[in-house]
Symmetry: C2
């Protein structure tokens, strides 16, 4: 990828993270990036096309900063799952809870007004859930988690809770909201550690 194209995507991702996709104009992206209009349209036919590039950029960044760090196969599966949660807390602590989840924000903003974006966000959430469900299965095979856990259900609940907790921390500008929820989420996961515990909804 050209340096200029990459630069536009980085600047646009940053602006959209803080202000939202619809509230960030191409004019602002040009001004902030120092790229000319003709140059912009050489790389992107439309703001929509830039939108897809922003989604992929955010996904790549999330993989580098979170999942690739947490999900390394040389440690036990439960430790990897806890690392995933702990890394997210650290990221939002360092950001002073500004911005929230790049992909969650844009998914919330766009899912009812751009069906193709919505489908891509659904794939993104599904892929996160699949990665966590895989961890749960590994933990079950090694005896770390009991067979009472439904991998897909547990994974979905982890993703939902962490998205909501990141939102709360953003609204309260207080990382303790996220920390607290992660502690509760770990307690929830421990339901499936002790085979003597069987809870029904």
């Amino acid at each position: 990828m050209s340096g200029t194209k990459e630069h536009i995507i980085e600047v646009a991702s940053h602006l959209v993270h803080l202000r939202g996709f619809n509230h960030t104009s191409i004019g602002e992206i040009l001004q902030e990036s120092g790229v000319g209009k003709g140059n912009f349209y050489y790389y992107f036919r439309s703001k929509e096309e830039l939108g897809y590039a922003i989604i992929e950029n955010n996904l790549r960044r999330f993989s580098e900063e979170v999942t690739e760090k947490a999900f390394r196969g040389n440690r036990d599966a439960l430790a990897q799952l806890y690392d995933f949660l702990n890394i997210l807390v650290e990221i939002h602590r360092q950001r002073h809870c500004v911005g929230g989840c790049r992909l969650g924000n844009m998914a919330m903003e766009m899912s009812d007004i751009h069906e193709k974006f919505r489908k891509r966000f659904q794939e993104v959430f599904d892929s996160w859930e699949a990665q966590i469900a895989d961890l749960v299965r590994t933990a079950q095979m090694s005896g770390q988690l009991t067979s009472h856990a439904d991998p897909a259900v547990l994974a979905q609940f982890v993703i939902a809770s962490i998205e909501g907790a990141i939102l709360l921390a953003k609204v309260k500008k207080d990382v303790r909201a996220l920390e607290c929820c992660v502690e509760e989420l770990k307690k929830y996961i421990r339901i499936y550690v002790d085979s003597n515990i069987v809870l029904y909804a």
Copy 2:
């Protein structure tokens, strides 16, 4: 309140719910409501002032549709908490998961770009949490929940998880995501029903 003012707020709340606050122009609100520009500015000095009215309208509606129905003092506290969750599932099922949480959406969109809105959203979330924490305390006094539960922490986790689950259901356009998370949330709550269960994060 005048009928016209109420009408403007209702139309604006609806548009903002689907499209976001920044992506909804006063022009669109005038067109959709059939109200003239002069009439609009008679009631609202600015879009910002309308924004506050939308927040209060959404809060009132949430109270009428959810909390006032769920939190009626004549039933046991745990049943009220479960009702709160069940009512939310039903609302999003009926809406076919379109729109998501009115207040959660706007909080996510605006918390980093409008500090006074953010403060109001923080108060809204705090008030929901306080209502649930009160229920937890009542449940503890009646012996329905154990003393292991921290009312504020449990309440915050419930709000975070349900917000995230509503977002997932909106992105997937599938109420089962919300249903599933509510079932897991009920299992989590049940950690605090049996005093023999003590889980650590």
